[in-house]
Each structure stands twice: as structure tokens, then as C-alpha cells.
């Protein structure tokens, strides 16, 4: 199972990085989204892959790692998802504004000189 998730992270990150290096703003935005998937999955995976062990306690219970999945990476990733959403939104608005201002959707605000 670990191999599948690792490969998934790799494919997401690879596609993300490729897009990040492209010249069009929309490509960069999509790339950033893909890269954040990869990173979120990676952080999540540091807690180990456990099935059927969601960290929901019984009332009054003191949980332990033997019974439940690691909740800490999950909490971190939750924060990361939210921040990722915010940055994607900001990037989108920025690229729209830049497009309106510069007349191009190149990341540098002007087409490359050839």
C-alpha cells in the first residue's frame, strides 16, 4: 500500500513541478494546486497508513497510538488544506489582475523576448 501512495505523491508532485515551471499563469495555478495535494498527502503519510482507525475516542477514553491513527499530521494537513485554498484563491485573483493590467497571461507580465 505504501508504494501506491508514494507513487501517487510522486506523480502529483512531478506534474505540479512541471506546471510550476511553465510560462502561463493558469498553468502555474494548477501546478500549485497539484503540488499542494502532493505535499498534503506527504505530510499525512508521515503518520503512517492505518485503515479503520480514525481518531474518534469513546467518551472518557484515553486513546493510544495502538488503537488510533496519528491525529497530529491530520490536524496539520487540515490547516494546510485551508491555507492552500486561500493561496490558490489569492493567486487566481492576482493572475486575473495581472492579466488585466499587462494584457498577457505570461508569468512575467510580458512575453519572452525571442
Amino acid at each position: 500500500m505504501e508504494l501506491v501512495v508514494a507513487l501517487a505523491i510522486g506523480v502529483l508532485a512531478g506534474s505540479g513541478v512541471w506546471l510550476l515551471l511553465r510560462p502561463r499563469t493558469f498553468q502555474v495555478a494548477i501546478g500549485l494546486a497539484l503540488l499542494s495535494y502532493a505535499v498534503n498527502l506527504f505530510i499525512f503519510s508521515t503518520g503512517g497508513l492505518r485503515t479503520g482507525a480514525a481518531a474518534i475516542l469513546e467518551r472518557g477514553q484515553e486513546g493510544s497510538l495502538g488503537q488510533f491513527a496519528d491525529p497530529l499530521p491530520q490536524a496539520l494537513v487540515l490547516t494546510a488544506i485551508v491555507i492552500g485554498f486561500a493561496t490558490t484563491a489569492l493567486l487566481l485573483v492576482l493572475l486575473l489582475a495581472a492579466r488585466g493590467l499587462t494584457g498577457t497571461d505570461h508569468v512575467d507580465g510580458r512575453e519572452r523576448d525571442r
Binding site: 501512495v5 511553465r22 481518531a55 490536524a75 491555507i83 485573483v93 488585466g100
Partner: protein, 985 residues
Amino acid sequence: MPDSLLLLALVLLPFAGAIVAGLLPTHARNAAAALAGGVALTALALVWAAYPTVRAGEVLRAEFAWVPALGLTASLRMDGFAWLFAGLVSGIGALVVLYARYYMAQEDPVPRFFAFLLAFMGAMTGVVLAGNVIQLAFFWELTSLFSFLLIGYWHHTAAARDGARMAMTITGAGGLALFAGVLVLGHIVGSYELDAVLAAGDRIRDHDLYLPALILILLGALTKSAQFPFHVWLPQAMAAPTPVSAYLHSATLVKAGVFLMARLWPALGGTDAWFLIVGSAGLITLLVGAYIAIFQNDLKGLLAYSTISHLGLITLLLGLNSQLALVAAVFHILNHAAFKASLFMAAGIIDHETGTRDIRRLSGLNRSMPFTARLALVAAAAMAGVPLLNGFISKEMFFAEALTADSPMGLMNILPVAAMLGSAFSVAYSLRFIHGAFFGPPATDLPRSPHEPETWMRLPVELLVLTCIMVGVLPAATVGPFLAVAVAPLLGGELPYYSLAVWHGFNLPLLMSVVALAGGVLLYLALQRRLRQGLERPPLLGRLDGQRIFERSMVFLSWRLARRAEGVAGTRRLQPQLRAIVGAAILAGAATVWWRGVGPGNLPPSPVDPVLALVWLCGGACALGAAWMAKFHRVAALILLGGAGLAVVVTFVWFSAPDLALTQLTVEVVTTVLLLLGLRWLPQRMPRPGERGPEVLTRTRRLRDLALAVAAGGGLAALSYAVMTRVPPELLAQHFLARAYTEGGGTNVVNVILVDFRGFDTLGEVFVVAAVALTAYALLRRFRPAPESIGLPDQQAQSEHGVAGAAVTTRGAMRDGADWLLVPFTLTRLLFPVMLIVAVFLLLRGHDLPGGGFSAGMVVAIAIILQYMIGGTDWTEDRMRLRPRLWIGGGLLVASGTGLAALAFGRPFLTTYFGYADLPLIGQVPTASALVFDIGIFALVVGATLLMLVALAHQSVRAHRAAPRPPAPAEAARAPAPLVAAEER
């Protein structure tokens, strides 16, 4: 008054005064002066109150916890030496305030001046009273900072700006060296407390790091005291208002350097290295400064170089490693402060009353301002070392030391000659000051007709000159006890024998004095003709123009070198920068593996489940597809991105993270809608048919990027595999799992971590979201679409229902009559309340079961956005009054309020309270205060998401209004509809 309070008041009072003075109205000069004077006099009184203690040889101390974990305390201490300096700082400070009140012009913003002056006084007091060497370095840099502000006070003149910048650069750099030096010193001693440092002299001198520490500290001290070759900043600093010069260059700023050297004399002094560095710097400065001073044409310039020279004298005395020389140095610090402050003030009076400071223009002022002339005459005589004035006595001590100094390698055999030479120079420039300004025929071409200044302006000069005379005539009775109190702590309490008397009989020092006096007079007479010619720079040393050297090196460093470095390493283009970042990350990862290696993991991999493998086959294909399509087929790329996101969601569900899945799913929806809304404003991009493939250059670039992408993806895959197959022995999670219910009151551990254990993180995060939403909103308000995307999109313009297509943007009445998308329209209306209930459900159960404020907020936002998408902007806004900004503000208020409420119960910020409430029908509901916090987050998320989405959606409304529409019969029949758009102008 307890010692600690006294010391604290002494340091903090000037800063408090500075803040108050800074708040005064621009032209409240009397109020500001009274405030500053009050502060200075209070400080002086406090210093005086400490006198009985220090006279008894005791040390006043105050300690405050600073960084207890590092063993650092903020401490203040005042022994006799610090006492003397504190008195000097506050006493001369009070005189300068009085003088400045009359010196500063009506149109200057005087409160600002006094604010800087007071802050500087506070910083200087801090240096003097610091009981800890780090603190000393801190206040030291503060003095650089405030002296920068004071020198640049008349910032409309280029000279003031340049002078301030130069002083800041040199003394600030010295301060950094000093900071490094005291860190080394602290390392040697094992403590940063001044007491410990002073007590560890032998250990310091024997340590291997002694020399580096000494050089670094001396760099700080010598730059501050304007010693050769760092003296160049001081003459430039004369662009400051004269009260500033009088204060900074007589008693305070430049004395900080000699203060430091004397302070650390017991710890660092006594070695050959100390003698070589300090002694030679002092000797060279003494001679060079005095020589250049003779040829200055500006009164203040002359005094500036004379200050440099006298500081050189003090430094030289400190460098001689003799106890008597130390006494002489401290004594001369006092004397110099008295006569130099009065001379600066006199120069200021001349400038103020005549409008010029140029010695070549001034002449014969003795007639128009006789009283000032006599005061200046006495002060200048003290500077020249004329008997019966204070300068004479310390100079005698200097001569005596020069004769007896024993130095390694006999280096100082020239010392007596050099001492006489320097003294003769000082006689010559003192003569020039007096003779040039006050004697000779009355000047005719002065900008203003000179007359005596106001009595109050002269008072500080009178007091200082009186001091010069008193000390000169009755040294033992006046200054004797204070000098003894000041010197004793430096010498470990034991005083060497010295005699403060005017007459020591006919001896060699007296002879040297006579020779120097006569030599100075002769030198001045001999130079008369050359000086009249009005030399611009001194002969011989004229080429040694420190200012030009300094400026050239500044230009080189900050302009040429920087430009070259930027040309080599900099780029304005984003792609190379990103490439560098990604490349660096890959290299960092690879390097770690290279050095440390990767062993096998301690967890056996779990068996592969074909279902999840299949999910990721699709997910991976989606990711690759999105990367492939993002250039020409944006919608397709967006859909594929969503596919990859769904695969992530499934993975979260699969591996026991329901909260993550829920959040990711809702975020996925909102992100997709956002991007869809944005697509409309991007330029069309289509592969041009018939075009040949990309150029070779482009192809190589792509290959390189592909290699980077593969390396990054492969590296991250390997890294995550390595991480997943090993488990560390200790995990922080254990602590959270055990305490989530017992201390956090919730069974959903992830939620408890977010709203309770790490609530501060979450609070910060929602502030970020709010800031992003407001930024997006602000950017979109000023949004100007590119010209070609203003028109209606092709799909809308060409559709059969041209009007119906545009109905998205027109009045709701249109919507009701239209039948397009009727089924989804009805469905979304029916779903709306259901979704709201789901949201409330998610919110309430969040603490115990998957859910929580964030996903609940997202669900509400999705419900509303659905109405927008299907019903149209106007239809929705006619029926719902959304106030996203209120939601944001309310959410932030509730979330921070819950955190602050804990303070009211005496608990730390964001402590939560929990319990369960029985509600009829619903059953037990957790009522932790964390729930209120979560409600705040919920409101904020609703507001922020809606604000962004609606702002983006409104762009279409705006653009449609601007765009020419195809004529439609239904529209032509109707009156032009006023558009709602409450958010719009």
C-alpha cells in the same frame, strides 16, 4: 528610594519623555524644552541622590528577569565610574536643552528635536548603567541610531543626510563588531554580567580568544570615539544643529568609546596588544586631529578636529597601561566635556548671531559681543592648556605620564616629543579660534549684524566656563572627590597617589607646557600668511580625504558590487527563480541522502489493495492529464485537477482521516468554482494549426523542466516511501490522544487539536484566510479586464437564447419566466435548506465526530454559490442579503473573543472550558467553549469564501454592463434595468 527603582527611572525616564515630546504639536517649543529640561534635571537629581552610596564605594544594582532560560537577566549597575558618566550625560544634557531652546529657529519642528535628544540621553544612560555586556551593546546601537536621527535633524539639507548616514554606517558597523566582541567575551567568561567580566581579567587575558575579542571590542570603541582611521565621520556630523554637536561631541556619543575602553580596562587592558592598538591609535589621532584642526576654516570644523585630537589624547592615556594614566584619562574626559561643550555653544552663538561660521569672514566680534568673546576666550585657553584652567592640570598629568611611560620595545620613546607637538598644535588652533573670530577689525560683510545673544542662551556657557575656572584654580577641592569616586572602581578600589594641584614646582612637565605654549604661539604666527590665503585643505595631509575614501567605498559596495552581483545572480523572470528553488530543494534532499544514507525501514509494507491502486491509477492519470492540458484546454485541466483531488479525498477516507476528507471535498468544490469563474478572463489560447513544432530552444527548456519535474516527483516519492516504512519510537500524537477527552473535552481528536491544543495556530490561520479574502476583494474592485475579454463570451453571444443566456445577469423577473436549466434550478432551491441543516449538523458535532467549523462553513458557502450559479446573480441577491464582510468581522471577533475570555478567568489565552448540555430533541450537545471558537471559524469561512466568490462573479455583471449587447426584441421593449449589485459602485 530603592536602588533598583532609581536606576530604572534613570534609564526609562528619558525614553518616556521622548515619547511624550514626540506627541507634542509641531511648534510647542516651550513645552518641549520644559519637558526635556525637566527630565534632564530630574535625572541629574537622581544621579545626585546616588552619590552617598557610590562615595561609600558601593555599587547600586537592579536586576530584572529577561530570558531566564538562557540565564540572561537585564541588569543595571552604577558604580562610581558609571555615576560620573551618568552625571555628565544628564548635567550637560540639561545645559544643552536650555541652550537649544534659544538656538533652534521658530520654524524648526522643535518637539521632534527634543524627542530625539531625550531618546539619545536615555540610550546613553543605558550604555553607562548597563550591568550586562549584551545590554551594553544594545544601548550602544541605540546611541548610533538616535545620533543618526539627531545629526540628520535638518534632513532637508544634503550635508545633514550625508553626515548622518556616514556616522550611522561607521558607528553602526563598529557597534556590530562590538556585539560580536562581547559575545566572544561572554563565551570566555561564561557570563555576560559586567561584574563577572570585570572580575575575570586574568582569565580573559590568558584565553586563546583574547585577541579576537579585544580587536572586535576595540573596533566598536574606536569607531565611536572617532579614532584614526575611523575619525572621518565626526567632521561630517557637524551638519547637525550646534546643540547636538555640543552634546554628542563633548560629553556623550564620542565619549561612549572611551567610556567603554575605561570600563573594560580592568578586564582587557594591561597587555602588549592593548598597548599597541589603543596607544598607537590614540597617538596618531592626537597628532593628526590637532594638525588638521589648525587648517579648518569652519569654527565647528575646527572644534570637530580638536575633539578628535582630544579623544586621541584620552585614548592614548588609556593605552599606556598605567594607573596614573587612567586617572589622567578620566580627569581629561571631564575637562574636555566642560570646555568643548562651552566652545561648541559659543560657536553656535556666533553662527546664530552673525549667520556664518567661516573664520575667514568673521572678525572683530570682540566689540559687538564682548561677553561671549571673554567666555570663549577662557574656554579656548582651557583647551590650549593655559595654567589656572582645568585643561592645564590634566595636560600636566599627561606630560608626566608621557615622560614615565614604559612601553614594550621602547616604542614610546618619542612620546614626550609627540605630546609637546600635539599640545603646541592645540595652542595654535585655540588661538586661531579666538583670534580669527573675535579680534581684528570688525567684519563688514556678515549676513547679520552681530550682537550679544539672549541671557538665557549664554547661561549654559557661563556655567561651563565657571566650571573650567573653578577646577583649574581649586582642583582638589572641586573635582577631587568626584574623580576619586570615579576612578576607584576601575582600579579595584585602590587609588594610586596623585596630586591635584596647580603648582608642582619647577619640573619637567612644566617646562614641556611652557615649550608647548610658546611653540603653539610661534606656530600660529608663522602660519598666519598661509591661513589668510584660505587653504581648502591642510598641507601634507590634504590628500588623505577620509570622506572621499569612505564615499568611494560606499559606492563600490552598495552600487557597483551590488549591481555586478545582481547581474550575475539576479533575474526578474519568475521561471528561473522557481527553477532555482526547485533545484535547490532537490539538491538539499539528495545531499542529505548522500551524506547520511538511507537504511531499511522498521515497518513491513502493508499489502496492496487493488481498489485503492485503481483509484490512484485514475488519480495519477488525472494529474498527468491536468499537466498536459493546462495550456490549451483549461476546462479539461480543471476537471482533471478535480479528479486528482477526488483521489486524494478517497485516500484520506481510506486511511482513517474523515475530517480531512470532508474538508478536502468541500474545498475542492469551492476551488473548482473559483477557477471556473476566473477562466472567463484569461486569453484564448489555441494551438495554431500548420505551425511547425516548438523551436529547439524551447524544446531544450522543456526537457530540462521535465528532468526537474521527474527528479522532484521521484525524490518526493522515494522520500515518502522511506518515511512511511519506518515509525519513530516517540510520537507527540500519544500525548494528544491521551488528553483529547480528559483535558480537551472532545472525542474527535483532530478537532480538539485544532480548536484547543493548537487553537492559536487555527486562529492565525483564519486571520490569514480573512486577509486573503479582503485582499482578493480589494484587488477585484480595481479589476480592469483585458479589452478582448470584455465582450460576451462566444457561447452566450451565439446561443439561440441570446437573451436567456444573458439572463444570468439581468433582473430576476427574467429568471422566473425562463425555462432553461429548470430541473437543476428547482433542485438547488430544494436542496438549499437541506444543505444548511447539514452545515449546522457538521458544526455542532465537530468536537466529537468528523465535522467542525471549517467544513460547515464551506458547505454553507457551497449552498449559496449553487444558488448563484443556477439562479443568477441578481435573482439570488434579490432574495438574500449577504454581508460577507460582516460574517468575516463577526467570525474574527467571536474566535478571538473566546480566546480572550479565558483571560477573564485567569487562564492563558485560548484555554477552553467544556461540558455537555442536554437539549430537548437533539440530545447531548458538547458545549465546550471550543464550540464557540468553532462557530467563529465557521462564520469567518462563510464570509471569506463568499466574499471572494461573489466578488469574482460580480465581475461578469460589471463587464456585461460595459459590453455592447446584441439587440434583442425582449430587451428593447423593456426600460433599461437598473442593476442591483450592492457591492458595486
